[in-house]
């Protein structure tokens, strides 16, 4: 019993320590578990003036609970629910500990990523999901999981309890694939292929964050040309994603011609990516230690395509943002007030539309970003769909600017240097964090290696962090605007469900 009390106090001081630092202004980035021989290791990641720090505690084997942080740090809520599902650890005093990434039945074995076990197939158990759906005068309107267009599967439940403000619940488990367990035992080289498939529309950003962790661990310097090529592909990925989100806005606002124009431009971006590397999603470009090889399109051909694409986009975007029926549809829709965005540490364009400034490319520059000049954006803090749209448009122009710098940089590198695209990564052991700024915001990877084999990989997409904030974005327009606000959040469910 005394031992138990000791463990509890360790955990408590861990939790208090995290809460204290967040209280002093650190941004809470996530809380992750890793099963190991002694139990489950919890790692809290925080950004202190955008420098990442971690705090850890070991929950010894046989521990079934830990004190919840969610009442003090609201953005911890989803991470704790995920820990509950994956490790069977109960967050004590969590405001609403429903299943999140998968509704395991009581007797199902939890996956406990990090153990490397072979796990038996599981079925979703709907019982624990439904217990909250009751009460006087409550009715629930479900959207999903099969959506009414070509979308990823997710379910939004709008609960309308009498006169109260409707409450929105998000169910992501339909898509849970057990990706974290899949990483276990893979080689470092195979791991990057899986990282590209965690959130397929942000393949490049995920590959960069994953490789960054390994390169940091191994002390590997990525050749400059590889760093620039990574940025080039990451920025094309950003343009494609921001166009995708804009396309969904135009669709929701009934702007048929704008929809057609922008889908055309997005397709041009995807084809350019395929011309550069063979994959429309930039897959295979980023490898541990560098990049797989030179771009297959010469720089003058690339600049030609970029030039005509940008001028068409500028003209269409200018018109779109001057089209009253479009702008009016976005203005005042899905407002995330700045104080909520700040409290939740919201990421990417969602945060930047609400006055947050975290951008990993600037705060913790990596790869080619260390060498490139950044543009300073006009601050947007209206917090509505229009602000997020404007942020994305600004970012598209800055992406073009960065891409041109990459092309110039690659051109300048002399011939003999050109031959080297990657530095070998020795088989190593250790644990490190990696990061990148995906189109959706900050991506984090916690990677643990043992002699070159992956023991534990925890990807954290910006979508996961931001989706927790989603219900707060529309107390008033919840009934009509789910799909529209979803588009303006620009999330990918694959990266959320794991």
């Amino acid at each position: 019993m005394t031992e138990r009390a000791f463990d509890d106090s360790m955990t408590r001081s861990f939790v208090d320590g995290v809460a204290r630092r967040v209280g002093l202004g650190a941004r809470f980035c996530g809380l992750f578990g890793s099963a190991c021989e002694g139990g489950v290791r919890l790692t809290a990641v925080m950004a202190d003036k955008e420098k990442l720090t971690t705090q850890r505690v070991l929950l010894p084997a046989g521990t079934h609970e830990f004190p919840s942080l969610a009442r003090r740090i609201p953005s911890a809520s989803w991470y704790e629910r995920e820990l509950r599902d994956l490790f069977g650890l109960e967050p004590v005093d969590h405001p609403r500990p429903d299943p999140l990434v998968f509704p395991f039945s009581d007797d199902a074995e939890r996956p406990r990523p990090g153990t490397g076990h072979v796990r038996a197939p599981v079925e979703p158990d709907h019982t624990p999901l439904d217990i909250h759906l009751r009460g006087e005068g409550v009715f629930t309107i479900p959207y999903g999981p099969v959506r009414s267009g070509v979308f990823e599967s997710v379910e939004y439940l709008v609960e309308t309890p009498g006169e109260d403000i409707p409450h929105l619940r998000t169910r992501i488990f339909y898509k849970h694939r057990g990706v974290e367990a899949r990483f276990e035992g893979m080689t470092v080289d195979d791991g990057v292929l899986l990282a590209e498939r965690c959130e397929g529309v942000a393949s490049v950003a995920h590959a960069i964050a994953y490789c960054g962790a390994i390169e940091r661990m191994a002390g590997t310097e990525v050749p400059l040309r590889a760093g620039l090529l990574r940025v080039l592909h990451a920025e094309l990925e950003r343009v494609a994603n921001h166009l995708d989100s804009t396309i969904r806005h135009t669709e929701g606002a009934g702007q048929a011609v704008a929809f057609a124009r922008l889908t055309l431009h997005k397709e041009r971006v995807q084809r350019l990516r395929a011309q550069l590397c063979g994959s429309r999603f930039g897959r295979g470009v980023v490898i541990p230690g560098g990049a797989s090889g030179p771009p297959r399109l010469g720089s003058s051909a690339l600049l030609d395509v970029l030039g005509s694409l940008e001028s068409d986009l500028r003209s269409d975007m200018r018109l779109l943002l001057a089209t009253p029926s479009f702008v009016d549809r976005l203005r005042g829709t899905g407002v995330v007030p700045a104080d909520i965005a700040s409290r939740y540490g919201s990421l990417g364009p969602v945060g930047r539309g609400s006055g947050q400034t975290n951008d990993v490319r600037v705060a913790r520059p990596y790869d080619g970003y260390r060498r490139l000049g950044h543009q300073i954006f006009e601050e947007r803090d209206a917090g509505d769909a229009l602000a997020r749209q404007r942020v994305r448009v600004d970012e598209i122009w800055s992406s073009f600017h960065l891409i041109r710098q990459c092309v110039d940089g690659l051109e300048e590198l002399s011939e003999p240097e050109r031959a080297m695209w990657s530095t070998p990564v020795e088989p190593i052991s250790g644990e490190e964090l990696g990061w990148s700024e995906a189109p959706q915001g900050e991506v984090l990877y916690l990677v643990e290696l043992s002699e070159g084999r992956l023991v534990r990989v925890k990807p954290r997409s910006a979508s996961f962090h931001n989706l927790a904030l989603f219900p707060l974005a529309f107390p008033k327009d919840v009934l009509t605007d789910v799909a529209f606000i979803e588009a303006s959040f620009g999330l990918s469910i694959a990266g959320v469900a794991g």
Partner: protein
Amino acid sequence: MPWIPRGMRNGIVTTRYPRHPDGYGPGFRGSVAVARDVADDVNLEPATQACPTGAIKVLEGRPDLDRGRCILCGRCTELYPQVFRFQSDFETSVIARRALVVPPDNEDRESLERARQELGGRVKSLRRSVHIRHVDAGSDGSEEWEIAALLSPVYDVQRLGVFFTASPKHADLLLVTGAGSAGMLGPLRETYDVMPVPKVVIAVGADAISGGLIGEGYATRGGIGRTLPVDVHVPGSPPSPFGILHGILVAVGLLPPADGGRSGRDAPDAGRTGNGPVIPNVRHHEAAP
């Protein structure tokens, strides 16, 4: 209205596929072709080991590559460029699952022909237009982009009488993406059940076909083949919009599958309904060299 003239610019960008060949530049990774004859002294074992999805098997020195598993990573093409080669060909959809294994087995012709006739007979009642419902059963999100691209003016599938529908009750074709996540199997099955007959299922991407790199785990079922009867397989990770369009046209019998032979509508007992969209000048596709 300043948007109107811009809309009119779109017409010229639309592909003329499948009447006329279309595609990407030579660099595009559409599929891996496998040489039929390999010199006796070449040991292909390292390729089977390097393949992250176990797509390559070597039997008596001869390689087999399962496109249903291949994620187009390029390891085999790098190790043995004389045996494995990327080609930009995207017309890789097949009807029978085993026809995804290349090089094709000529012994199998007859049974592939039967599968084609069966599907051709089933879809002959499809009217001038085809209605499609998509369900994501655990994709990585990229397949949805590629399907959605079909609605852009570049592909403009409406010109071919292909429409997307929100209601499964009005759908003829079910496009399924994803490795078969446990949570989606129920909703997927329910969608399939309410579709009217004839219903045709298209597995879009290596994940839907075999689980791809995600494979079979506690929460995935190695594709959707154990949940639904799959009629057409579209390989790729993800398949390109053209690849998906090829799969749709194979499903309705307008184009032949990648394993050669004739399209379903040309099958002797399938017949033409006279109502279906007729696309002349269809290019007959040769199987991988």
